[in-house]
């Protein structure tokens, strides 16, 4: 029965369909440009957000009146920014 399906017709119909049009068309040029813009924005976001986090933590540590004892401080009592959104990774919270 499967051989009786009109694959050729379907293939032609499906091949003609592509979100925003087939290759080398205005639609694919626009999508490409949009994708590149989003990618660049993501890079800027990575830099900006991380810089904010690092500077905030460094300020907290300086304001705490000393430098952290490396490797010996449990995460709870030490200076810390507010936890990230989502399930807590701090025991007891």
């Amino acid at each position: 029965m499967i051989d009786s399906f009109p694959f050729d017709e379907w293939s032609e119909d499906i091949a003609a369909f592509w979100t925003f049009g087939p290759g080398n068309s205005t639609g694919t040029y626009v999508l490409t440009v949009l994708g590149i813009l989003v990618m660049v924005a993501a890079f800027v976001g990575f830099v900006w957000l991380e810089n904010r986090k690092l500077q905030a933590q460094a300020e907290l540590l300086r304001a705490a009146g000393g430098i952290p004892a490396p490797g010996g401080v449990p995460p709870g009592p030490g200076p810390s920014q507010p936890p990230l959104a989502g399930p807590s990774t701090h025991p007891g919270e």
Binding site: G23, N24, L31, G35, N51, Q57, G71, G72, P83
Partner: protein
């Protein structure tokens, strides 16, 4: 007669379709197997990092995929298709008029999306994308525990989607100028993936500097204790497993013509030949690494990786016995060069990536010039030679080292390369994620191994080193003001 001809045509069409679908499935599953390389990198580097940096280390590996994938789709694949002659291919009259394979690599082409007539382009692209992740990830381990995540992402995007793929266009394609003019032969990417990533990482490390406390005031190297060596070794074993997918994906299926397989230069080979060499390469590399390091577990396994990298360039032509011997030498070279880089060059490469991938990648290409000279490489049958291999090395070292050095220098200039020293001392996970990722495990004091071999609590050592770093920063600020 007409009926027979019609039947023959039908059979021919069917064979063509079967062959295309076979190739499509083959590359798809190499991609699945190659994911193991990235699971492995994450485990390997996570285990090598101290407890306070575990998640920031792992996040680098995960987000490598997030940044290299789009940048390779938009730019990297086009570089591979269109820069094989050195500069961009001629004929760029308009975006729809790129010539030949170059045209199929533009992100808006009909080969770069759903296409019922094309079974190959998408999976071939994906296989190369996985090579790009791998290349970007090689640098990842070298820079752990002090680089900013965002700086790493910029650098890995550059390495994975521009630098390595440019050298692949030049020396790892049938039309690359190094191949067609000099017979450059690096069939399973000793240099074009590993060597280049190692050279790029070296450029970054020179600007990044060592972790706080890595060297004492006399310049002697201390050793940090990774929080889970077993995890590191398991990661390496996963990388090795994924390497079989990597090796297989480096071949081209041509199932309608004997022997059915071609290397990346379209010279005939077999899957069995390269499987021979990779397996024997691990055996030799483990052996060399074990003896050179006197049984150190980290270097024994890294020796396996180095052994394979050393024989990859000639994996399609080496006899297994030759590969075994050469891989032993590669495993030993990785250990010796790694210790030299750490102790004499005073470059803090946390996982020995420059030695294992960089030094052995270049070594592997040199070995082909010595042991496989005269092999007719590529569609032009240009004989491989020592001179041609050296030509490739001379072209690729600056191509890799300079972008890594220059871009990391720029990031350093804007204070975007390295985390603040306080954050480094406390551990990156608290600043990045506000969490310890082993919350139910009791904390024990972190230790460090002194140059004398004595293992001591790290806090006093690191605090003293921190004071030195801060002193230097303060005096630099005074000079600036």
């Amino acid at each position: 007669m007409a009926s027979l001809l019609a039947q023959a045509t039908q059979i021919e069409d069917q064979l063509g379709l079967d062959s295309a679908i076979l190739a499509e499935q083959f590359y798809f599953y190499t991609v699945v197997v190659m994911w193991l390389i990235h699971i492995g990198f994450m485990a390997y580097e996570g285990g090598a990092s101290r407890r306070k940096n575990v998640m920031s280390t792992a996040m680098k590996n995960i987000l490598t995929i997030a940044v290299v994938t789009p940048s390779f789709y938009y730019f990297g694949w086009y570089i591979y298709g269109c820069f094989q002659h050195g500069g961009p291919a001629e004929g760029h009259a308009g975006p729809a008029e790129f010539p030949g394979f170059c045209g199929a690599t533009a992100p808006w082409s009909d080969a770069m999306g759903p296409n019922l007539q094309d079974h190959i382009s998408a999976v071939f692209f994906l296989a190369f994308l996985l090579f790009s992740w791998t290349t970007g990830s090689i640098m990842s381990g070298a820079v752990i525990e002090r680089i900013r995540l965002s700086a790493y992402l910029i650098l890995t995007m550059l390495l994975g989607s521009a630098v390595w793929i440019m050298d692949a266009a030049w020396g790892w394609s049938s039309g690359g100028w190094l191949v067609t003019r000099f017979g450059f032969h690096d069939s399973i990417a000793s240099l074009v993936v590993h060597g280049v990533a190692g050279a790029f990482a070296l450029g970054v490390l020179l600007n990044l500097g060592p972790r706080i406390g890595k060297y004492d005031r006399a310049g002697l190297a201390r050793t940090f204790r990774g929080h889970n060596t077993h995890l590191t070794l398991m990661g390496l074993m996963l990388i090795f497993t994924g390497f079989y997918g990597f090796y297989a994906a480096c071949l081209v299926i041509q199932s309608t013509i004997q022997p059915g397989w071609l290397n990346i230069y379209l010279s005939p080979t077999t899957l069995g030949a390269i499987a021979f060499v990779i397996t024997v390469g691990f055996a030799g590399g483990f052996t060399g690494g074990w003896f050179a390091s006197k049984g150190d577990p980290f270097w024994t396994l890294s020796g396996g990786l180095a052994g394979v990298i050393s024989v990859s360039a000639g994996a399609d032509v080496y006899h297994p016995s030759l590969a075994y011997i050469l891989a032993i030498s590669g495993g030993m070279l990785a250990v010796w060069s790694g210790l030299w880089i750490e102790r004499k060059l005073r470059v803090d490469d946390a996982v020995g990536a420059v030695a294992v991938h960089g030094v052995c990648g270049f070594y592997g290409v040199l070995l082909v010039g010595i042991f496989a000279g005269g092999f007719p490489t590529g569609v032009n049958n240009v004989e491989t030679s020592l001179g041609g291999q050296v030509m490739g090395m001379l072209a690729f070292f600056p191509l890799a080292f300079l972008p890594g050095y220059i871009v990391s220098w720029v990031l350093k200039y804007f204070n975007l390369l390295r985390v603040p020293p306080e954050v480094e001392l406390e551990g990156l996970d608290m600043a990045e994620f506000q969490a310890d990722f082993f919350p139910e495990f009791e904390r024990v004091p972190e230790t460090i191994v002194l140059p004398s071999g004595e293992e001591v609590e790290s806090a006093p050592v690191l605090l003293e080193a921190f004071a030195d770093v801060n002193g230097r920063s303060a005096s630099a600020e005074r000079r600036m003001s």
